[in-house]
């Protein structure tokens, strides 16, 4: 793959050089969110107004302007997951961990997000915890999966 180093980040290069989206992705990957100082630096480096950088950061779902939790919890809300009851699972996780959807718990431990289909519909409904997929979820299983974590034992396995 063709790459370039921008602001110390290794960024994939396109036919027209490095795009803002690609640069922000590299920053998000490293810090789990987009720190303001890097957005300012990105604007200077790419020679675009800061507002353009912010509009990109706000437009795409994979970017976050606030630090995300140490554990990333993603529930799939694709159609197949929806007809098999994903809404109730999201609610159960939200209740067990005390985290609202699309936000982070006050102790910075968990972030809960929904995505529109991860393409593993045969195992619907799905929950992804720190990149690990858990299929055929039920509200009951989801509750058990996180019960330990909610009691303050850090591991969510």
């Amino acid at each position: 793959m063709k790459k370039a180093i921008v602001l110390g980040f290794e960024v994939p290069r396109g036919p027209d050089g490095v795009s803002i989206v690609a640069l922000l992705q590299a920053i998000q990957d490293k810090y789990n969110y987009l720190p303001e100082k890097f957005l300012r630096r990105a604007a200077r480096e790419m020679e675009v107004p800061l507002i353009d950088v912010y509009s990109v950061a706000k437009f795409y779902k994979s970017f976050s302007l606030v630090p995300e939790g140490r554990h990333q919890i993603v529930t799939c809300t694709g159609t197949a997951c929806h007809v098999r009851g994903s809404e109730k699972i999201t609610e159960e996780i939200s209740r067990t961990l005390g985290v609202e959807v699309n936000s982070t718990s006050p102790d910075g431990e968990y972030s809960l997000k929904c995505v529109n289909c991860v393409g593993a519909c045969a195992s619907a409904p799905l929950v992804i915890v720190d990149g690990e997929y858990h299929g055929n979820m039920t509200p009951l299983k989801a509750g058990k999966l996180f019960a330990q974590g909610a009691k303050g034992k850090t591991a969510v396995s």
Partner: protein
């Protein structure tokens, strides 16, 4: 020893490499194919593969028994799947505990392990060989067949199975016009949704001069669709070969694959495929000694459904927000960086090498007059055999759902099938005999779309489905057009009112009128098709809407505001399972005595129904 990588300078270089790859492939006839696709990984196939590797090494079998981590094998429902070659014995739901038996009995002695065989959910019949399964028998797996045979990380496997021959032949023997002509004869139509003829785009682009681009649209955003992901994970070289051929035919020297970030495994497989193709000189300068140069770039999406729309996609590749632009000028005149650009879907591109290899004439024999070839569908939802199916276009929905899919889960009643993602619609039981081609499904108020097929049973509420898609579209609308931004939100409000029982009579008429306005007055495909889920459910299931409004009743028992849970006092044995598991603490009662549900606390999550062994929970 794998053949040494060399940069091909002539056709002969390629052919001798191919010969060596075939010899190598033939030598390793005895192998285990373990499905490594995301679908099976979720069910533990990665661990299974690792354990198999350890076992083979420990027992000293690695010389004679090979292991392949393949792409999607199709029947995701019964994963993890393992196929034992050369016999092609098909094992399903394989656990690490089965490894020793599989190796010692099946591989070494050729014995069949009964309990790992697939058994038909309806007839109970067991099948030994994959091809005999009813699930595979009615399919025509032209594109997906290779998934069974090749390791997606190995370009040698792909070449040994006929890969890159079409590209080599095109570059060395055909001029670009002849390639476009062949695609024209094949009548290949875009598999991304619109069904536009591929050759038309290619020919227009070919006639333009100067710097041009070809983009592979791998932003498979439709929920419930994973055909493109499985193609890229299982056979990334086929997509890449199609892209390079497209570059040659259109005169584009730069190709971009725009892929969504939600598919990390597909991104990795594609990266590897591009690197390997570069190593062998199939991507780069002076490909096969010709004056054709082609570079491939990966552009990773950042999570926006609208970026599947081609002009929004191009804005995103350019690093801007994914807002569509008014057409014309069309992208083929003014696309990426203002240059002529062709955008093709993953599956369309994967079809290209097949067409050139076998000839357009043979390709056309499959499918219908106006929809040639095969189409991959992801058959999901309340169906027995969930998975990836490839069928000739024109096959009926009934054949797909019943013959291949094995019918509805738990013997329930079929209600509707949703095709075409958020732009598509729901097709009722009365239309099950419709042929799946580009034009017929549109006439039923839906579309083939990218190929997601979500089967719904009588426990699915159509109002809830309409609400679901409207919520999806309201979240994903870029907000550029007023009627899309505000219109969809207002549609959603009305459907929400219907679903919670607060809608007044007359709302259905308003819904229809508003849907028409949104359809007619938005700029891009997202807005124009946004009312489809509402309109198609209204068209076929108006009674269900009326039941919500007039009787405040949800016939499917889904809409929460309209249902209540209670416990049958005669059936309840007071075991306390519901009390223990109720997350809302809404169950009360003494041990060994019938329990009660407190209505004001109950949030209708349904956990009590799933845990109750006495079937005493009543949903009304």
């Amino acid at each position: 020893m794998a053949p040494l990588p060399v940069k091909f300078k002539t056709k002969e270089d390629f052919l001798s490499f191919k010969q060596r790859s075939i010899e190598q492939y033939e030598k390793n006839r005895c192998y285990l194919a373990v499905c490594g696709d995301t679908g099976c990984s979720v069910q533990g196939s990665k661990n299974l593969y690792d354990q198999l590797e350890i076992y083979l090494r420990k027992q000293g079998y690695t010389e004679n028994v090979k292991l392949k981590c393949t792409g999607c094998l199709g029947l995701c429902e019964n994963g993890p799947l393992v196929i034992v070659y050369p016999q092609e014995i098909f094992y399903q739901r394989v656990e690490p505990e089965d490894i020793e038996e599989i190796i010692e009995k099946t591989v070494i002695q050729g014995e069949i392990i009964e309990r790992l065989l697939y058994s038909d959910p309806v007839s109970g019949e067991k099948y030994i060989y994959g091809r005999e399964l009813p699930f595979y028998k009615s399919q025509l797996r032209n594109l997906l067949e290779a998934n069974w045979k090749i390791d997606p990380g190995s370009i040698e496997d792909y070449i040994a199975n006929g890969g890159y021959a079409a590209l080599v032949n095109a570059v060395t023997e055909m001029d670009p016009g002849a390639v476009v002509e062949e695609i024209k004869k094949s009548q290949l139509r875009g598999r991304g949704g619109a069904g536009f003829y591929t050759w038309v785009k290619w020919e227009e682009c070919r006639q333009q001069t100067g710097r041009k681009f070809i983009i592979c649209n791998a932003d498979e955003g439709d929920p419930g669709a994973f055909m493109d992901r499985s193609l890229m994970e299982g056979n990334p070289h086929s997509v890449l070969e199609g892209l390079i051929i497209g570059g040659y035919a259109t005169g584009a020297q730069e190709g971009i694959v725009y892929i969504r970030a939600e598919y990390p495994s597909a991104v990795e497989k594609l990266k590897l495929a591009i690197d390997r193709a570069e190593d062998l000189g199939l991507v780069g300068e002076n490909i096969l000694g010709s004056d054709f140069n082609f570079q491939v770039y990966l552009s990773i999406g950042a999570g926006a459904f609208i970026c599947g729309e081609t002009s929004a996609l191009i804005a995103s590749v350019d690093g801007r927000i994914g807002e569509p632009v008014q057409k014309p000028p069309r992208l083929v005149q003014n696309g990426y960086l203002g240059r002529p650009t062709v955008v093709n879907n993953v599956e369309s591109l994967a079809n290209v090498p097949l067409i050139l290899r076998d000839g357009a004439q043979k390709y056309c024999r499959v499918g219908t007059e106006k929809s040639s070839g095969t189409k991959i569908f992801s058959l999901v939802g309340k169906v027995n055999n969930t998975g990836l199916v490839e069928v000739p276009l024109g096959i009926t929905l009934r054949e797909i759902i019943y013959d291949i899919g094995g019918g509805i889960k738990e013997g329930k009643q079929f209600k509707a099938v949703q095709t075409g993602g958020p732009s598509g619609g729901c097709i009722p039981a009365s239309s099950l005999d419709l042929p799946t081609d580009f034009d017929q499904l549109s006439s039923a108020g839906s579309m083939i779309g990218s190929g997601g097929m979500i089967v719904m049973d009588d426990e699915t509420c159509m109002v809830d489905i309409a609400r679901y898609f409207l919520q999806f579209l309201a979240d994903e609308s870029c907000g550029c057009c007023f009627t899309c931004r505000e219109g969809i939100s207002r549609l959603l409000e009305i459907v929400k009112e219907i679903s919670d029982g607060s809608a007044k009579p007359g709302q259905l008429e308003l819904l229809k009128e508003l849907a028409g306005v949104v359809k007619d007055s938005t700029m891009c495909g997202l807005g124009q098709t946004a009312p489809n889920p509402v309109l198609s459910t209204l068209r076929h299931f108006e009674e269900e809407y009326r039941a919500h409004i007039e009787q405040k009743h949800c016939p499917a028992g889904v809409c929460r505001e309209l249902i209540t849970y209670s416990i049958d006092q005669k059936l309840c044995n007071g075991c306390g399972l519901c009390l223990k598991n109720c997350p809302a603490g809404a169950v009360t009662g003494n041990k060994k005595e019938p329990h009660y549900i407190l209505y004001d606390k109950c949030d209708k999550c349904g956990v009590c129904t799933t845990v109750c062994r006495a079937e005493a929970v009543i949903k009304q």
